[in-house]
Structures are given as structure tokens and as C-alpha cells.
Symmetry: C2
Subunit: 460 residues, 2 copies
């Protein structure tokens, strides 16, 4: 793209959307996401931050008229390069759409714009005795629109489902620039085809989500975790299945493999034995008495063969535990300077194979490998540790990613449980889907975005 | 359609799918559904019952080759004419696809074919200490495939969500006759666009669902209802909002208007005062001690202004209450020989207006009117009582339906909360959706079914 064209494009957009809408200064931070890989850093030339849903519609109309591709971007905390420009697209920073349009605590619902952070939604719910369960992480940065566009998960999806389960309605701009609304502040709606679910998880390739109506629920009065460490992966996986057999529905069942525990051992709220191969965290929530009972059931399920068993009671300890859990990913990345993490999901009875095979694949590629993730949902962050500046390491890790995707499908699972395909996994859907389903995928894309200007090349 | 053509079509299908697959004898029962309206009884000429998912694929290939339209049909218990042939389509009876492909109680999941009845799924779950929450009614007749194809709701959708919330994967035949699979025995999958949700609720217009992977959960040990009667609709609606303010999450919050209670008063397990304008049933479930506590909260929320307050403890009483609740629809229909019931949904704070306006619209059209339904979800079965053989009555009731749809949209709701559009509400989506969303609806239909042979004319 030539300098004068960029200049005139920026001028035009400032004229259309207001000077405030043109993001100036260094745009480098818009060129990557949480993957932080050299191959995925491509700073954009132009970034706009529209101030309203109507302005997003004006922007998409302009893009369609001028055949300019757009990359919508929330907090930039994704793990698949979904919000990263690839071929000179204009990046659409959604952070100015940060109004709460309506908050009705008595009706358990909120109407919020896409640019609100996850933490803000959590806080607004909490201040009103309510709870918005999706907790995909990076809550101070990640935005509602991005969470919906990736259908983000998180630890508590085991009991509460992923982000989409809490969306009763969406407002979105779809090409060639129409502001449409599907659903709303209603809890049931089967009038048309489920366009709402089609937009959820579409990673900005079908349109730009501008606002959502969300369900909330009363905040559980109590939450109590159990932490158990095992020396054998098989014992840990058997213990996880024992939780299900106990009849308790935990809010979360997480696992962290020994090598990942090692990377963050010093910040764990307890001294852990060196011999742990797999750490399991299960949490129950609800009314206090019931939660205490359920926790005992979970503790009993996790006890056999455990070498560590910890059941903290203080809220501060639980908070410290989850802070540690959220830090695992960064701690692992820091070990060798970089990592490539996947997010395959498998049926729960294949969890052990997925964990073991991750390490095997790493061995074959001469890369240290480990995993952690949402055990109850069979959603595993299989990870290869690399030197982020070593192109050979990156290449081998990407080959490992391919092997993991094949493994996920072999085990009856999915190549992506919560990150989406983005740019990183482009072209991989063909591994998972039948030819006709894949064809329909393409036809849906063409129906929404006939000029292929909405986040092109992603989610394929 | 001419007699010889029908004869040869039947022969051809018997040859293709086996003699067993050709349904013989009177086909009249295939010509209507639970609406039981004269205008919606059109007995088909040919009914086939394929014996396997592969045979469904063969059938759709045949239909596409010969340009014959198909109407897939489960238990025929729908309320929108969705499974009724209109222009001589071949009806596809799914009841022979009734195999449980896998039941994994320890992993809380089942892989079931589309023709299994809802009652069978409920029983299989129950026998294994588990629970499949969707309870759209007519459980002995309604089938899994039909429930998924309409995304059926029911009373307990308030806490547990509608049928689609329990489907982790689908197998379906889509034109021109491919057996595709989206999702599976995995709890998280964001690889492709959400084709699974697109098929859920598509009423057989995009393809024929042949099997599903379902999530189950441990059965709640206890369920306790509270029944409260009110003389004023406003008091009842205020009481319903008080339940939400109490912080309890009930499993169900139902309402039945006085006129509907009157139609079934004799079978109610308790003697109710004549002055009741609105009856509310709220139920809580969970562990016994917690459930008892929550029930007290619900009772306290419902008590003010109530003229009846009943909180039965015996499981037999609870069962009798729900049997009565399920019979309300038939009892009301019996009053004048027929009824036209809608299923609009509105935001909860507009429930009172929807209830009052239903009666007003009835008055203007000189038809007795009343409503009942899933109060917590704002999902109302607004009903006009008619003489089913009186064409004038039917016409006025249909006009009333149109007025109700306009009302639902005016109140920020949906023209269908759980029945779908079927044939009865054809053309009405245009009232609710933006032009571009409606256009995308049509393009999705064309992408899946370019020859418009899958349940044509429905879901528009």
C-alpha cells in the first residue's frame, strides 16, 4: 500500500467518523495478540475507533464501497491471531463502544456495548448481587464483543457454559453496512434461523458485533475449591471421572501438568511436592451449606492416589488460587521466551490420551511440551515451549500444532475448544468437517460478506 | 398429483429403502399435528419411514434427483403445522431411527437417534441417576429429532435452557443427500461457524436430523413447588418479579390465567377459590436441604396478595400438579371444541401487558381468550377459543394471531418462543426481523437447499 493512499484513506475516515475516531501514534500494539509470535505481528497502517454502532455501519458501508478489508478488534487478548491485520486491513478498535445501554438487576439482564471489558461486566453484575459466569481470562483487557466473536470459554464454562450461552440478543453490523438485531431482552426466541449463534464465534468474519443483551444470574453465595496433586496422569484422570460419578456438578474442573506447575511453582499459594505430574483444581459453588457438602464429595472423589490434597476455606485463598491459575500461561511462556499453545477439545474419556500425546509429539519434535486447561470440558491447552526468536523452533511448533489437530479429530474432538481458528489455524477446518459442511461454511461466509472484506482469511 | 405417479413413486421408494420403509394403510394421522385445525389437515399420499441415517441420505438424494419435496416428521405433536404436508410432499416418518447409539452415564452423555421419544430419553437418564431437562410436553409421542428441529422449550427451560442447550453434536442429512456431522461427544467446539445451532430450530427446512449427542446432568435429589393464586394480574406479575429479587434460581416459573384454570379446575389436586385471575407455579430443585430453604424464599416472595398459597411436599402431589399443568392446553381446547394458541415471548417486565392485551384482542374479535405458559421466560401461550368447525371463528382467531405477533414485537419480544413458525406463522418473520437479516435467512435456506425441497414453505 502506498503512503499517499494511506494518508487519504485516513483523512477520509476522519471525515466520515470524526477526528476522534482516527487512532494516531504508534500502531504497533494493534499488530499482535496474546500469541505474541513474531510471525503474527503485522502493525496496521490505519486504525479507526468508531464512537457508535451507527458509525460502525457507516464504516462498513465505506469499506464495501471502496473494497477495503476490515479487522474488528477488542482487547487483542486472543490466542489465534484473529484480531491481527494480515494484508494491510484497516483495524477497527471497538473500545469506544463502551456504554451500558440498560442494566436491569431485578430482571437479571444487561444490555451492553461490545467494547466494555469483561471485568466491567463482572463488576456491574457483582455490585448488583448478580453473576456473569464467562471468565475467559485477561478480564481487564478482553472485551465483550471479542468474547462473543470467539465464543470464549474459561474455567467456569464447565457448569455455566461458554459466552454464547449468556447472550440472548445481538446487535451487529453486517455487510454491506446494515445494523441488524437478532434476539433481544427475551429469554426464548425461535422465530428465524439462529443467526445469533451464527454471529457468535464467527470471529468478525460475518459482521461486527456492536452490542449484546446478556442474561445474568444471582451470584452464588459461596465458592469452595479442592486442589489435588497426582504422580500419575492415569490416577488424576480417574479422579476427574470420579467427580462426575459423585453426582456433584462442579463449577470448574481444571488441570495443570507438572511441567506447567513447575514454571509457576513459586507463586502457588502452597508448597507443592516436586513429584506432581498432574494438578487438579475443582470448585463448587452455591448456597453455603450445600457448597460445603458438595466440596466434601469432591474432596472424597479426588483423594484416592493423591499426594497433595488442599481444600482452602478463606475467600482470599480461593482468589489467590485462581490468580495463580490465570498466570500459568504467562509463566510457561516465560520459561523459554515463547510458546505455541493450542486449545483442542476431546471427549472427557480421551483426556488422558490427549495429555500424554501432547508430550509425545513434543518429544518427536525435540520441543519441551506440556498442557493445562479445562479438564471437565476436555479442553486442553497443549503447549510447545520455544525460543520466540528462533524461526526453526516456531516452525517445529507449528508442525506440532498440526499433529495436535489431527490428534483431536482422531480422538473424536475439535481443533478448537475456545480460541477459534483465527489466522493461526486457517485452512484447518477441512481436517474436521465433512466436505458438504465445509462447503456450507463457505456459502454462509459469501452470503454475509460477498466481497470478503470482513476479517478475510480468518476462520477457514 | 396423479394416481399412477403416486403408485410408481411408492414402488420406487420401497425398492430404494425396503418394503418396511413404506407406510401403508390410512395416512390421515400424518396430515395434522397438535394444532388439530381443519385448515391444517392434509393427509399425504406417500409416507416413508427410513430405517437408518444412511437410508435418509439415500432418500434425500432420490428427492433431489426427482425434485420431490419432503416433510420430516417426528411425533407430530408440534403446534405450528411444521410437520404437516401442504402440497403433496412425501412425509418422512423418523420413528424407526430409534437406537441409542451410546449411553455413557459416567460421562453424563448419550448418543441417540432422532426417532427416540422424549420419554425414552428421560427414562434412560433417570435410570442412571441423570437428568435430561427439556420437557416440552407430549413426552410419550414427541421425538428427539422434532424437539431439536423446533428447539423445543417447556417449563423447566427457565433454569435449564431449551433443547438446543443440551445438544453437543448433530448428525444430519443435508441436500443433495450428504450425511454430515457437526460437534459430537465434546462439550466445547468453536472450530467452524455454528452449523449445529443453525440446524437446531430449523424445522426440517435445512436438512433432516438423524441423531444427536446430548449432555446430561446428575438428577436433582429434590424438587419442591409452590402454587400461588391471585385476584389481580398485576399482583401476580409483581410476585413473579419478587422471586427473581429473592436470589433463588427456580427451575420453573409458570402461570395459568383464571379462564384456563376454570377449564381444568376439577382435575387440580386442590380446591381453588373461584376468584383467581392468575395462578403461579414456581418450582425449585437441588439437594434436599438447599431446596427446602429455597422453597421458603419462593413462598415468601409469592405470599403477598395471594389468595391461595400451597407448597406440597409429597412427590406424588408434585407429580399430580405437573400432570394437571400439562393437561391445561387440552382442557382449554375442549371448552369450545377448538383453540388457536400462539407462543409469543416478551421481556419479563412486559408480561402483564402481554397477558392483558391477549384478552383485549379476544374481546375486539368476539372470541374468548386466555393465556398460560412459561412466565419466567416471558413465553405466553395466548389462546383464542373457537368452534373448530366454524370457519369464521378460525379466521378471526388467525387475525388475532397476527395481532399477537405485532404485540410481541411492540413489546420487544418474539413471534415464537418455542413452537417455531411452521406453516401457521409463514411469512411472519418479516414482522420481526430487519430486511438484511431476513435476506440472510433466505440465503442460508438457498445454500442448504437450493431446490427448496426440504419442508418447503415452512419457517419463513
Amino acid at each position: 500500500m502506498l503512503e499517499p493512499m494511506i494518508g487519504s484513506m485516513a483523512d477520509e475516515l476522519a471525515h466520515l467518523l470524526g477526528d476522534d475516531a482516527l487512532v494516531t501514534g504508534s500502531l504497533r500494539s494493534y499488530g499482535s495478540d496474546a500469541t505474541q509470535l513474531e510471525g503474527l505481528i503485522r502493525a496496521p497502517e490505519v486504525v479507526v475507533a468508531p464512537g457508535s454502532a451507527e458509525d460502525v455501519a457507516v464504516l462498513v458501508q465505506w469499506a464495501y464501497r471502496n473494497e477495503v478489508a476490515l479487522v474488528p478488534r477488542g482487547g487483542g487478548t486472543g490466542f489465534a491471531g484473529g484480531a491481527v491485520p494480515i494484508h494491510g486491513e484497516v483495524v477497527v478498535d471497538m473500545s469506544r463502544l463502551n456504554r451500558v445501554r440498560a442494566l436491569d438487576p431485578g430482571l437479571w439482564r444487561i444490555h451492553a456495548e461490545a467494547g466494555l471489558t469483561t471485568a466491567t461486566i463482572h463488576r456491574l453484575a457483582r455490585e448488583n448481587g448478580l453473576y456473569f459466569p464467562p471468565d475467559p481470562g485477561a478480564s481487564e483487557q478482553s472485551q465483550l464483543g471479542g468474547n462473543i466473536a470467539t465464543n470464549a470459554g474459561g474455567p467456569h464454562a464447565f457448569k455455566y457454559g461458554v459466552t454464547g450461552a449468556w447472550v440472548t440478543g445481538l446487535e451487529a453490523v453486517v455487510p454491506p453496512g446494515e445494523l441488524v438485531r437478532v434476539g433481544g431482552p427475551v429469554r426464548k426466541d425461535v422465530a428465524g434461523y439462529d443467526l445469533k449463534s451464527l454471529l457468535i464465534g464467527s470471529e468478525g468474519t460475518l459482521g461486527i458485533i456492536t452490542a449484546a443483551w446478556l442474561r445474568l444470574i444471582p451470584a452464588p453465595a459461596s465458592r469452595l475449591p479442592v486442589v489435588a496433586g497426582y504422580e500419575q496422569t492415569a490416577d488424576a484422570c480417574a479422579a476427574i471421572e470420579s467427580i462426575l460419578a459423585s453426582g456433584v456438578v462442579p463449577a470448574a474442573i481444571e488441570f495443570i501438568q507438572g511441567a506447567a506447575v513447575d514454571a509457576s511453582r513459586t507463586s502457588f499459594p502452597l508448597t507443592l511436592p516436586d513429584t506432581i505430574t498432574l494438578l487438579v483444581i475443582a470448585e463448587v459453588d452455591g448456597q453455603p451449606a450445600e457448597t460445603a457438602n458438595s466440596r466434601e464429595e469432591v474432596r472424597a472423589a479426588l483423594a484416592p492416589d493423591s499426594v497433595t490434597l488442599w481444600a482452602p476455606d478463606a475467600a482470599a485463598e480461593t482468589a489467590a488460587l485462581w490468580r495463580w491459575r490465570e498466570g500459568v500461561s504467562l509463566a510457561v511462556a516465560a520459561e523459554h521466551g515463547g510458546k505455541v499453545s493450542e486449545d483442542i477439545s476431546v471427549p472427557l474419556d480421551r483426556l488422558r490420551e490427549a495429555i500424554d500425546q501432547t508430550v509425545e509429539i513434543g518429544k518427536e519434535l525435540c520441543l519441551p511440551a506440556c498442557s493445562w486447561g479445562h479438564a471437565g470440558d476436555g479442553n486442553i491447552h497443549s503447549t510447545f515451549l520455544i525460543d520466540a526468536n528462533d524461526r526453526e523452533d516456531l516452525k517445529r511448533a507449528q508442525l506440532g500444532g498440526r499433529r495436535l489437530h489431527e490428534l483431536a479429530i482422531e480422538l473424536g474432538g475439535s481443533i478448537s475448544g475456545e480460541h477459534g481458528l483465527g489466522w493461526q489455524k486457517r485452512g484447518r477446518l477441512a481436517l474436521q468437517w465433512d466436505a458438504r459442511a465445509l462447503e456450507l461454511h463457505g456459502e454462509i461466509k459469501r452470503a454475509f460478506d460477498p466481497k470478503n472484506l470482513m476479517n478475510p482469511g480468518k476462520k477457514t
